[in-house]
């Protein structure tokens, strides 16, 4: 066999082997690569990115103060006629003569705050409850199993209470304010996060690598904290992204029910949308701006969350 021929054979084999290796890589890197190709993920990321930029830089972008009344004699409150978009007020003025564009831009921050804080509350409390239940059930012996059963029953009952009702009850306890909305929406998410983390942890707990760790005598607490928990977080983080969208929408609903932010100094999209309901037939734009803001932001988080879920789902991955 000549050298050239052997080289050719080697090259052919090498080419096919490297082609295969390019497809592998770690789970997270793989899903990141897939997400970069998914239009859904790109749209979601762009929307979410823009939203965060506006929310953080809002006060510097806004041409007017959010409570500054720039009207002259042009707003006729009694007839519900407000100036629409024009050069000095891009989105027009609201019923108190305040610049809508500035209020939208500044309001983004409060909306973000409501969404993020509510999600964090739900995530943190849900993770504690669900994680504790799963750890107790897996490693706590017979009593641990019973404890897990009791906790999860309670979570099921809480899950069976419609989210808005839960939020309503919390809001009723705490009185109307932005904090109420955050806590109310956050508390309503606890059962979902608890269930998700527990399910995800149980799936990990029955996997072979955990069995291997147990057989090597790794302490149980250590297995839970450094093996099971990090590996179970993927689906929960995805859920958090989706919950952010829900939180923003739910917050608007609570505002509409009069449980939202009573402080006119800090605009928030949900409150703006709720306030604008009164002027809907005469000046629908007052409602449409915050509504579109809410819808697009929620859509951005939903797209991002769904794209993440798809890229992490091993079953969907196999189909590709």
């Amino acid at each position: 066999m000549t050298i050239a021929k052997i080289e050719r054979l080697d090259r052919l084999i090498e080419a096919s082997v490297t082609a295969r290796d390019a497809e592998s890589g770690s789970l997270w890197r793989q899903s990141l690569r897939r997400m970069r190709r998914s239009p859904m993920a790109i749209c979601g990321a762009v929307i979410v990115g823009l939203f965060f930029i506006v929310a953080l830089l809002g006060p510097w972008i806004a041409p007017y103060g959010p409570t500054e009344q720039t009207w002259g004699g042009e707003v006729f409150l009694n007839q519900n006629i407000f100036p629409g978009p024009r050069a000095e007020n891009w989105f027009g003025l609201d019923h108190l003569g305040r610049d809508m564009f500035s209020r939208m831009v500044v309001g983004a921050r409060q909306t973000m705050l409501v969404g993020v804080v509510a999600t964090l509350i739900g995530f943190a409390a849900g993770a504690v409850v669900g994680g504790f239940a799963a750890a107790a059930g897996t490693f706590g012996g017979r009593w641990g199993e019973r404890l897990e059963a009791v906790i999860m029953r309670a979570v099921d009952v809480a899950l069976s209470i419609p989210m808005l009702l839960l939020a309503l009850s919390v809001a009723a306890l705490l009185g109307p304010s932005l904090t109420t909305v955050m806590i109310a929406v956050g508390v309503a998410q606890i059962p979902i996060f608890a269930r998700m983390l527990r399910g995800s942890m149980l799936a990990q707990a029955h996997s072979d690598y955990v069995l291997a760790a147990i057989s090597m005598g790794v302490p149980k607490a250590r297995i839970v904290v450094s093996h099971i928990l990090p590996n179970s977080l993927g689906p929960v983080i995805v859920q958090a992204t989706l919950v952010l969208a829900t939180a923003i929408i739910e917050a608007a609903a609570l505002s509409y029910l009069g449980l939202g932010n009573p402080d006119p100094g800090t605009p928030e999209w949900g409150t703006m949308l709720a306030d604008a309901q009164r002027f809907l037939s005469g000046a629908p734009q007052l409602a449409i701006y915050p509504a579109v803001g809410i819808i697009i932001t929620a859509l951005g988080f939903t797209l991002l969350g769904e794209a993440m879920r798809e890229s992490l789902d091993p079953r969907l991955r196999r189909q590709q």
Binding site: T2, L9, S16
Partner: protein
């Protein structure tokens, strides 16, 4: 004339060609096998004959299969039939038994219904007549107490029972060709023999032709007349079963035979597995796809496309004479 004549079958998913010009034929009442490792294209071939591959969309997207070549069944090219015409033949003229009996049965429909629906569709049997016939079928495939079993669900049966039900469904309309795709792979070893025995009895009794798809030469030895060995989407050796076992020609076939435990060899003789995996492939156009794994590889093996040579005992190896 052959009952089924497959000519130059090519199947591609997107840019990857899975079956690359396969030809073989099945005569009336003959038992023919397609043998090879998973990934060699044997299952895809059977699905193509049955018209069960996902169709290619006009847009070219969506993961459909591009199928070319001919599959002439009883004088008619199956690939030329409309979806509806094919639907009327499937289950009636050609039927198929699948690999995994649990996932191949509908979990929420009683097995009786899953049998009678095919009787209804192709033989026009309804009501009590269909039930009676389903009972007969279950009895024929060796399921005790068939009347009671009709009302049960797949998860209530054992693996072997489920495979018997699948076979009952396949032979319900007395097809002329039965395709069995790894019918025993998912079963226990003891059950495997029973199921093979059952298949053999059924095709013998009815004179049905059987196309057996398997990776197990042990299965082939027991029941097949003709063997086609597939590697990387092409037939590499084709002959009658007796000659193939007596004088295997292609190194791949030799390797397959070498990796089966045999009673007639010395006890301490180690098995000889084929090194590498089917993924270590070069394109057929550049040379023999098996070359990267072949012990006898030489320069001529990668000097262009090897051709299928020989009539009754055909092989695709340029060094065949050397081996013999």
């Amino acid at each position: 004339m052959a009952l089924l004549e497959v000519e130059d079958l090519r199947i591609a998913f997107g840019s990857s060609t899975v079956v690359d010009g396969v030809s073989f034929h099945v005569d009336e009442s003959q038992v023919v096998s397609l043998v090879g490792e998973s990934g060699c294209g044997k299952s895809v071939t059977s699905l193509a004959i049955m018209g069960l591959l996902p169709k290619l969309r006009k847009s070219g997207r969506g993961g459909g299969a591009a199928v070319s070549g001919r599959a002439v069944f009883d004088g008619v090219d199956l690939f030329g039939l409309s979806a509806d015409q094919m639907r009327r033949r499937r289950g009636a003229d050609l039927a198929m038994v699948f690999q995994d009996p649990l996932s191949s049965l509908n979990p929420v429909v009683p097995i009786g219904r899953q049998i009678t629906e095919v009787l209804e569709r192709h033989r026009g049997l309804r009501g009590e007549a269909a039930r009676k016939e389903a009972e007969n079928l279950l009895d024929r495939v060796g399921i005790p107490d068939p009347r009671r079993r009709l009302g049960e669900y797949p998860h209530q049966l054992s693996g072997g029972m489920r495979q018997r039900v699948l076979i009952a469904i396949a032979v319900a309309c007395a097809p002329r060709l039965l395709i069995a795709d790894e019918p025993t792979t998912a079963l226990d070893v003891t059950i495997q023999a029973q199921i093979l025995e059952l298949l053999k009895d059924l095709v013998d009794a009815e004179g049905t032709a059987l196309l057996m798809i398997t990776h197990d030469l042990g299965v082939v030895a027991g029941m097949c007349n003709v063997v086609n060995v597939l590697y990387s989407g092409r037939v590499v050796e084709s002959s009658s079963a007796s000659r193939l076992f007596a004088e295997p020609t292609h190194p791949y076939t030799v390797g397959l035979l070498g990796s089966i435990p045999r009673l007639d060899l010395p006890i301490h003789e180690p098995l000889k597995p084929i090194r590498g995996s089917i993924a270590d492939v070069i394109r057929w156009g550049d040379g023999c796809a098996f070359a990267p794994r072949c012990d006898l590889v030489g320069a001529e093996c990668v000097a262009g496309e090897p051709m299928l040579k020989g009539e009754a005992h055909a092989h695709r190896c340029v060094k065949a004479e050397e081996i013999a």
